[in-house]
């Protein structure tokens, strides 16, 4: 049988950051994703692609336990973070989310000043250092500093969509996570704003492990090192992992037929 998951065998001898092992997730009685095993490598951008409803976002949100905010969610299998079970009884989900940050589909800045948006995370952690410096660093890292340095007191909601999304990235960076999960971060943005975020991802990769869900295959091809293709199983509508490979391999020489169908636009 052909192995459709070469990326699970290793990636340029990069250390493994996170890993899902036979992960299944139920919403009530409905199986949303089924026995997904994939390894996420350090300082690598991994893209999750696939048709709507295939469970990409569900999988993504499992990686920092955001799913358990939804009533009736149950998981089977394991998620490991540095080899530790993320869902172990003595692991606090709040601690998990401090190390594995998240950027959402729709820019969702707090209705507060730009400064307070970035400072919120460090403040609730009781950050002792120089907050002004941290805010500046985070905004610089999110390539937003030059645009907002003279109006840090302005409400975050007054920025443009693309700026708002970079503010959300800055906010996430400010708490110094190790992994950043991104759920279609550019789908609500125009192409120019989206392009800025894509450029930003390449810089962030130097420091962070990034897992990104995207609807846009060109985007996955442009920004990611590894790509995972998910699809919906016919009989029970659950999401399964079909193929996980180097991005250029997956797009130019897909192993599975359904991957081929999807990337050539014949399906989904």
């Amino acid at each position: 049988m052909t192995d459709a998951f070469p990326a699970n065998r290793g990636h340029d001898s990069t250390p493994i950051k996170m890993e899902s092992r036979d992960l299944s997730l139920y919403y009530g009685k409905n199986l949303a994703i089924r026995t997904i095993s994939m390894k996420i490598y350090e300082q690598t951008i991994t893209a999750l692609i696939g048709p709507s409803g295939c469970g990409k976002s569900t999988l993504l949100r499992s990686f920092n336990r955001m799913n358990e905010l939804i009533p009736g969610v149950r998981i089977e299998g394991k998620i490991l973070f540095h080899g530790e079970d993320l869902n172990a009884k003595d692991v606090d989900p709040v601690a998990v989310r401090r190390r594995i940050g998240m950027v959402f589909q729709k820019p969702n800045p707090f209705p507060k000043s730009i400064y307070d948006n970035v400072a919120f995370g460090p403040r609730i952690y009781g950050y002792k250092g120089d907050l002004d410096t941290l805010v500046e660093q985070s905004l610089r890292a999110a390539a937003l500093w030059d645009e907002v340095k003279d109006k840090l007191g302005t409400n975050g909601l007054e920025l443009s969509g693309g700026q708002q999304q970079r503010l959300c990235i800055a906010r996430t960076i400010a708490v110094e996570p190790e992994v950043i999960l991104m759920d279609e971060p550019t789908s609500a943005l125009d192409p120019i704003a989206a392009g800025k975020i894509e450029d930003l991802l390449q810089e962030l990769k130097e420091q962070y492990t990034i897992l990104i869900v995207t609807h846009n295959m060109q985007q996955a091809a442009r920004v990611s090192d590894l790509t995972a293709y998910m699809m919906i199983e016919e009989e029970d509508r659950s999401g399964v992992l079909v193929e996980y490979n180097r991005t250029n391999e997956l797009f130019t020489n897909p192993i599975m037929e359904s991957t081929q169908d999807y990337i050539t636009g014949r399906f989904g």
Binding site: N64, M66, L69, P71, V94, A95, V96, R97, R98, G101, M102, F104, K106, N108, P109, F110, P111, F120, G121, I124, Y125, N155, L157, C168, R171, T172, V175
Partner: protein, 331 residues
Amino acid sequence: MNRRGENFRSDANVFPGKPLRSLQEINPNIRRSYRLGKVFQWIAVAATGVAVLVLAILLFDIFADGLSRLRPSFITEFPSRHPEEAGIKSAIYGSIWIIVLTIIVSLPLGISAAFYLEEFAPKNRLTEIININIANLAAVPSIVYGILGLTLFVRAFALGRSVLAGALTMGLLILPIIIIASREAIRGVPGSIREASMGLGATRWQTVRHHVFPRAFPGILTGTILALSRAVGETAPLIMIGALTFVPYVPGNIETIRDVIADPIALITFAPMDGFTVLPIQIFNWVSRPQQEFHVAAAAAIVVLLVILLTMNALAIYLRNRFEKKGPQNR
């Protein structure tokens, strides 16, 4: 002729096999729908007109009756056997006491309950039962709260016919309304804000404290003021617990700020335990008198009550508009 230069002439049939219709020709179904729409519109206008007219007549009648009695002395004098000397001082003080104590009793309880139910409570059968019961409680007739207040506060807690007993009863009466209004306001805070906060590693409490509460607060405030204005107009439960109808003093005899400074302890010890009356009861009392002059006094008191209610509702609307302008609500 090339495609771009082609003219769509009105006599050219673009879809072969389908008869061409002019734009002036209107489908009979649409014509009927238009007519129905017009009819409905007129019914709606008439219904609104009736409601406004009745209110206008009522207001006109009351103002015509009561305006002659509205002098400063009407507000600064205690009630009296002589209708032309009678005033509503004790009733106004009583009403203010009831409002303030009711806020103190019901606001913290109501907001806490609303936050618990919306943000912290597990979604199970018990919560479901609680939800249904709160909705039911909001619909219980106020006289029933009066009976409860009489049994519980006046007798069992031995508070007597005091301001405190009245405020506790009123507090219970409006508690469900405050809870429902607050929950509505909390639910209005977009989920994306909660996700953003939790995603940053904030705890549930930090999320509520820093994001949900500040955004829900204007809505909570508005709902609370509207609930309070209901309490201000309530008569039945206070009559039930035995609020007095003739009160020639104010609770604790505290009339001015100077009295408060002179004996601040009395404000929280004696005054809440004193007897009281409120505006609606004073009105009720005067209306049931045979003398015409008392009816005039009642009309004047109604005007005062209406002004108070109008002010409270205006405040609620003002606060809502003011806070809503601060940021888009649905992001």
